[in-house]
Structure formats: C-alpha cells, structure tokens
C-alpha cells in the first residue's frame, strides 16, 4: 500500500482541481516491497512537493519521524505527521492521511453546533476554513437518544431563524406534571420544572436537521467512521484521530473487504463524543484535566427509553410528566419521564443513577416494572412500542467539569459534562459549549489567540451561571431521598444556588456498589409481552445490528476480574446492569 498525502483546501472547487491535477501527475509513491516488514526506519519521507508545509503553514517536518524505535507488534507507537503504525504490522501499515483546519469528533448537538458556528464565522470574516466532522453512527442522528424537552436558548443564538427553516421542533411543552409514585398510587406534587417556552422533540431528528444545516454551510460530515485512536505529535500535542480499520473478522484477521483506517488531522481537534466518550476519557486522563481545576470525578446515570404510539384519546401533545419514587428505593436516585410528542407518540423512560448500592438492582427490569404502574399503564394501554434504546448521562454537573482545553484542541458537550441535572437538560448547554469552542478555535487559527479563550468564555457565559446555580441539587441526594427533596425544595424556592458552599459528590459510582451478601436478590416479574418485554424483544426494537464476523466490541482489561471479584463478591452485577445484556 502506498502512502497518499492529500492536502485539502477549504473550498471545494480548488480541491477538485487539485485532485484532478494530482491524478494527472500520477503522484503514486513507490510501493513498499512486500518482503520487507514495515519498520519506521525503512520508510523515508516521500519525495513529494506536498511534504513541505501546507497552505496554512502547518509545519510538517519529516525529520521528527526519524528517531522512532523499531516497531514491536504488541506496542502501539503513536505516529508522527501522517505515519501511524496500526496494530497489524505489514507492508500496508502506511495509512492515508487527510488534513483539515478543524476536526470534530462526533456529530451530535455539540459537534454540529461547533461546525455551524465555525462556518458562520468563516463566512462573516471571509476566511475559508475546512471543517470535518466524523461520526461513528451509520447516519447523522443514528446514535442520538434523549428524552427530550428542548430549551431553544442556544439554538436561538446559533440559527435565529430556525422556526422558518423547517426545524423538527414543533410541539411546545404544554404542561408540567410531577408525580411521586408508590406501588399503587401517584401523588401530584408541585412541579420543580418550568418548561414554558420549551419543546418536546426527538433529538435524533433535530440532529439530523442540524447535520443538513452544517452541510449546507460547507462542513464535510462523514458518518460511518469511528475514531479509534488519538494522534499525537512529538511534543505530545493532539494532531487528529485515526479511524478504525474495517473488515476485520472475529479472530482479528483481515477479511476480503478489509479497508485500513485513515488518519484525519486537524490543526484544532474538538472532541464531541457525548457522555463518557472513549477518546475524551483518554485525553482527560492523559492531560490530567480534572486535577488541573480540582474537579471531582464524574458521576453517571443510565437512561432507558422507549417510544410508544398510543391511543389518540390518551395523547396530549406537549404534556410533560416526571416522576420520582417507585419503583426505585429511597436510597437510589432516579426517576422517570413521559413526554407526549407528535404523531400520537410518547417518549417514556427511566433514569437510574449509577451509584446505587444494591448489586442486584437491574435498571432494565425496574423500567419494565414502572410501565405497570396504574398511572403509566393507563397511558400506554392499547398502544405499541416503536423503539427502544439506552444511554448513560452525566450527573456530575458543575463539580465535575474538567479543564476542557488540551494542547491541540478542546472537549465540548457531554464529553466534558455540561448537563443541568435538576433540569435534566444538557442539549442547550452542549450546543453552547460547541459554539464557544468554535469561536475560540477560530480565534486560535486566524487571530493567533489561544484555545484557552474557550475556558474563559465558558465561565463568562450563561452555561456557567446555570450550572453553578444547579450545583447543589444532585449532591443533596447523597443524604437520602427525603432530605434530598427537602434541600432541593430549599434550593429551588429560596436559595437558588446562592449559597457560599458547594456540596460534594459521594464516592465514585463504581465504589458505591455494595457487597452482594448484604442484600437479597430482587425477584422481578416476568414480562407480559404487552407492556413489559424481555431484553431480546427490546433489542430488536433498538435497530442495532452487528455483523457476526466482527471482533468483540468489549475488551476487558483483565478478563480474570469477573471471576475473581464480580461473581463472588457482587454476584456478577454486569449481568444485570447492562440494558442490552452484553455481558453474559
């Protein structure tokens, strides 16, 4: 496999001309002889004029490459300026490399808002910027799942004319109900939420629409490509990502449709992978971004959601219901939501905080139980389930925000963690963080400013004020459900976050799981096939489909731990906590 360096200019026509001229010149570099195993020393920088530095002056010094130690098949040496050695050593290990001004990993609300903002700025200031968004889902919006009652604050700033542009935001929230559930009854409580001015939407549809807007403005979006590694240069600065090799069989060997991944480089890289993004977590760890601002650990919750099509008579578009209490016990934080969308559809879900103590708790089964509650059952009866899915969300809020800037880029959206926990809304803050990062990136690329302006602007913005005011709600529940509710009421009606102290989170979620011997197994009722379902039926509705002949997506760091620790001490909680039952 030869190495093919492509320089992408920011506007499409010069690119196609450039490409045509490249084709005419047949700039194919000499094929590496297949008998020689690939070692870094045997590949010399290609004798091509593309090598010097690109149009924007991004330095490409090939001699940084010289001093790499010989490759060993088990180590992964992060490459330099285009040569990233992949795990399989062969003569084809030289990967193609593509450069952009800004690379965004993840086409969600944060990533797409950043892309749109960048393109808006480049149009305003008449400076071209090439922006690329890579998305692991097969289509934009394919991996998006959220309640969602949308607060259009950030969208009003980003695309003020969204109402005239057929945005899929049509159903205004019409009522806010808040119920405390016991096994048989529902008590109406004064709603802590005020959703006036917000809309009940499908976030995946909104993201699809945002993707269309971003493409109209000239962003290149590539769905179906997941970023598997971060690329660093010799000074440990992030220069981009490498996409996964495709066409690998279960045992790791290459299939006939093998396609090596590609290196995508950006002068600025923005990570917008969502909650617990794999690369973002590595970056946060590597650059110690939480320690830098004395942030606490992140805490999480698991949200499990179904979309139902219900009886016309029971459907009330815009109705927003939240519940607390049953089926979760007072020591477990969580609650459910039921939002009436359009087309007779409702979104129903249960959110369970992952610092629950009982290792026998099964969030999926709790969700099935919830649907049998008389108040919920009444709404669902006569309806059909259309879709199912689940996703983790951040609950750390203000206390857990890491320093989001690192050499080479920044982290935006839920990968950093801007969800407003008491409001249970994170879309608007994610979008705003994307916009602020885009402004900082633009400044960094064209005005010689530092990416740190992102952090400064974040702290000056409404995102910071909002998250600061909301910071004490969730930690208050460490003291239990009722004290938590009492403190929340105080916060909401009286204090509004204006206390001088900040409550801290308890233990990290994984440390909160208690030993199995202290608890008794919970016996969950069997699914009835009408309101509640077993996991395989639900999975079928999630439209996930994996090719059989594929390496396992789960790689345990130490495969002995489930036998030595999980099973004896915690009664194998992994067989219960995954809503897709991937651990068997």
């Amino acid at each position: 496999m030869h190495r093919f360096l492509v320089k992408l200019s920011s506007s499409s026509s010069p690119f196609s001309n450039q490409l045509r001229s490249l084709k005419n010149q047949r700039l194919i570099l000499p094929l590496l002889p297949s008998s020689k195993p690939f070692t870094s020393s045997s590949v010399s920088p290609p004798p091509s004029p593309l090598n010097a530095s690109n149009r924007f002056g991004y330095p490409y010094s090939a001699d940084l490459f010289r001093n790499l130690s010989p490759l060993n098949p088990n180590s992964r040496i992060l490459g330099v300026n285009g040569i990233t050695s992949s795990r399989c050593i062969s003569s084809e290990a030289v990967r193609e490399s593509i450069e952009y001004d800004v690379l965004i990993v993840g086409a969600g609300p944060a990533g797409l808002s950043a892309a749109i903002r960048l393109k808006q700025l480049s149009q305003e200031k008449n400076i071209d910027l090439s922006v690329c968004v890579v998305e692991k889902g097969a289509e934009v919006g394919g991996h998006i799942i959220s309640g969602n009652v949308f607060e259009p604050l950030a969208l009003d700033e980003l695309l003020p004319h969204w109402r005239q542009e057929h945005a899929p935001i049509e159903i205004p929230a019409s009522s806010d109900k808040f119920w405390f559930l016991t096994k048989d009854r529902a008590f109406s409580l004064p709603s802590p939420f005020d959703n006036k001015g917000n809309y009940v939407i499908s976030l995946s549809q909104l993201v699809r629409w945002l993707g269309g807007k971003a493409e109209e403005l000239g962003t290149e979006i590539y769905p179906g490509f997941s970023a598997s590694e971060v690329l660093f240069d010799a000074s440990d600065k992030v220069v981009g990502i490498a996409t996964k090799d495709m066409g690998i069989s279960k045992d790791g060997s290459k299939k006939e449709n093998f396609q090596p991944g590609v290196d995508i480089k950006g002068r600025v890289t923005l990570f917008a992978e969502g909650c617990r993004g794999s690369l973002s977590e590595r970056i946060i760890k590597k650059y110690k971004l939480r320690e830098e601002v004395n942030a606490q650990h992140q805490t999480y919750a698991l949200g499990i959601k179904e979309v139902w099509e219900i009886d016309e008579s029971k459907h009330n578009p815009g109705e927003v219901i939240h519940t607390l209490g049953w089926p979760l016990d007072p020591k477990t934080y969580g609650g459910s939501f039921l939002y009436h969308m359009n087309d007779r559809q409702v979104a129903l879900g249960l959110v369970v905080a992952l610092n629950y103590h009982n290792p026998f708790l099964n969030p999926y089964e709790e969700f099935q139980k919830l649907k049998h509650h008389p108040a919920i059952k009444g709404i669902l009866e006569g309806g059909t389930v259309l879709q199912y899915g689940a996703r983790t969300l951040n609950e750390g809020g203000f206390q857990s925000i890491p320093y989001p800037v690192f050499p080479g880029g920044a982290i935006i959206g839920c990968s950093a963690g801007f969800l407003n926990v008491p409001k249970i809304k994170g879309t608007h803050t994610a979008m705003k963080s994307g916009m602020l990062a885009a402004e900082a990136a633009f400044g960094a690329l064209h005005e010689g400013l530092n990416m740190n302006t992102y952090w400064d602007n974040l702290r000056d913005s409404w995102v910071w004020k909002e998250l600061y005011a909301a910071r004490n709600y969730r930690p208050a529940f460490e003291y239990g459900l009722l004290p938590g509710l009492a403190i929340s009421a105080m916060e909401h009606y009286v204090l509004k976050g204006k206390v001088p102290f900040t409550l801290k989170h308890g233990k990290a979620d994984h440390e909160a799981t208690d030993l199995a011997r202290k608890w008794t197994p919970i016996v969950y009722p069997k699914p009835d096939g009408v309101l509640s379902f077993d996991v395989p039926t639900s999975l079928y509705r999630s439209n996930t489909n994996h090719d059989h002949d594929q390496p396992s997506h789960l790689r345990l760091r130490d495969p002995k731990i489930p036998e030595k620790v999980n099973f004896p001490e915690y009664a194998a909680p992994e067989s219960r906590y995954c809503p897709a039952r991937v651990y068997e």
């Binding site: 093919f4 490409l19 297949s34 549809q205 449709n257 093998f258 396609q259 439209n543």
Partner: protein
Amino acid sequence: MPFLFDESSSPSFRSRNQNCLLLHLFCCSRPMKILVAVKRVVDYAVKIRVKPDKTGVETQNVKMSMNPFCEIALEEALRIKEAGFAKEVIAVSIGPSQCVDTLRTGLAMGADRGIHVETNSIFLPLTIAKILKSLADVENPGLIFLGKQAIDDDCNQTGQMVAALLGWPQATFASKVVLDKDKNVATVDREVDGGLETLNVDLPAVITTDLRLNQPRYASLPNIMKAKSKPIKKMTVQDLKVDIKSDIEILEVTEPPKRKSGVMVSSVDELIDKLKNEAHVV
C-alpha cells in the same frame, strides 16, 4: 494495455483477480461499459412498520441505504473492471432526490459515474425495466448488473424484465461470474432450488446477483471524498421517453396477522378433531 492499479484498491484485490479468469487479462477487444442499477431502500436492520393510513411502509425519518443485493451487483461490476475487462462502471438509480446519496455511496465504492432518474412516484418493476432499457439503448453497456431483488418489495422481476425488453440473455441468482472476453461469453453459476446451474451467456447480457457472489467492499474515507467530484447526470422519465402508466395499483398495505400461540393437544383424536373442525384442513 498496461494494468493500472486504482489507488484505492488494496493488495488483496490482486489475489482475487488471480482467481478470476486472468488468461485474457491484457486483452480488451472492445472497451466495455457495465451498467449497474441500484435501489434506495429501507435499511435491512430497521424494524419496519406500516403507516397508519395503510398506504405503505413508514419511510419518514427511517434509515435508508443501498439494497444489499445491489451492493453485491456493484461490487461484482467493480471487480470485473479492476480485472481489466471493462473500462467504465455506471451506477443508475431511479427515485426521489435522496437517491443521490445512494449513488454517491456507489461512486465511493468505485463506480465512475452515476445517473439519477428523478421521480417522486413509486415505480413498479416493469416501469423500472423500461427506464433501464432506454438507458441501455443510450449507453450500450456490455453487461447490466442488478441485485436479484429489492428487500422492500421482494419482487425479483426487474432484471428478468430488462433482459426480455432488450432481447438479451439473462443469468439470474448469480453466485459466480467468469468472463471470457475473447469469446464474448460469461459463465455464470446460478443458485437454483435444486442446487447450482452453470450457464454460458453471450454478451451483452443481464446478470442479477445473489448473496454468495461476493462481499461488497467498504467505501473508504478518501474514496468518499473523491466521489464528490464524480459526475451524476440527472434525467427525467420524459427525457427517456418512457411510458410510465402502471397496470398495477396498490390498494392497501397491512401487517401480517399476529401469529397465534400454539395449543397443546392431549391425544391424537383431539388433534384430528381440531384439524377438522377448527382449522378446516382435513
């Protein structure tokens, strides 16, 4: 003719080419075009549901992709081109404006150009076949590849109808295709109910592809980028002078009745009684 590697092909293609008929590798008597028809359908992994008004299956906000059999057809055409037997692969799609996305995927896999016949009506196989015949009259391909059937209607008719309209030989359910350029013949293994049947078809011919023919390649990111600059010609049905009046009208689409659970019977007599009096099959 020197054998030029396409930049995007991986070395594994070389071995695949060696498995194809390499005897006449450097001999191209006449530069051949291959026309591949690709259909945009609901993605195979999506759980479909019928629209509440029963006029069809819900396609709004549902993931759409290239019909899997069409991908196999395109892959075979690309391999034939890479073996040196054809000079150009043209992808054709008939449907609404979003078909351009499907064509771009085809171009990213390696097709040279695309043709989009734009229409918002749902066309049944005969109309599609007539359109493809008109295109074949214009383009004069040496081979037309189609998937054996589309996964949305499962008609399995279009390829056969195209062949009949053109008066060309057809080899359907292909699981292996071997070309002999000198004799202008394709040897095709067909998957039939009884097993495998091998046919020799004179070119030009229509071949429809079955599952085991090949594994379609992934479109690599650089190829997706290059595909943006490949041309897609837009045409209308009027341009092709095709009569689109359909003889078939879809009255209603409903879900199949839910399967009732089985009943355990306690004796043979009871079974016979139920078969006779309840199921009315005896």
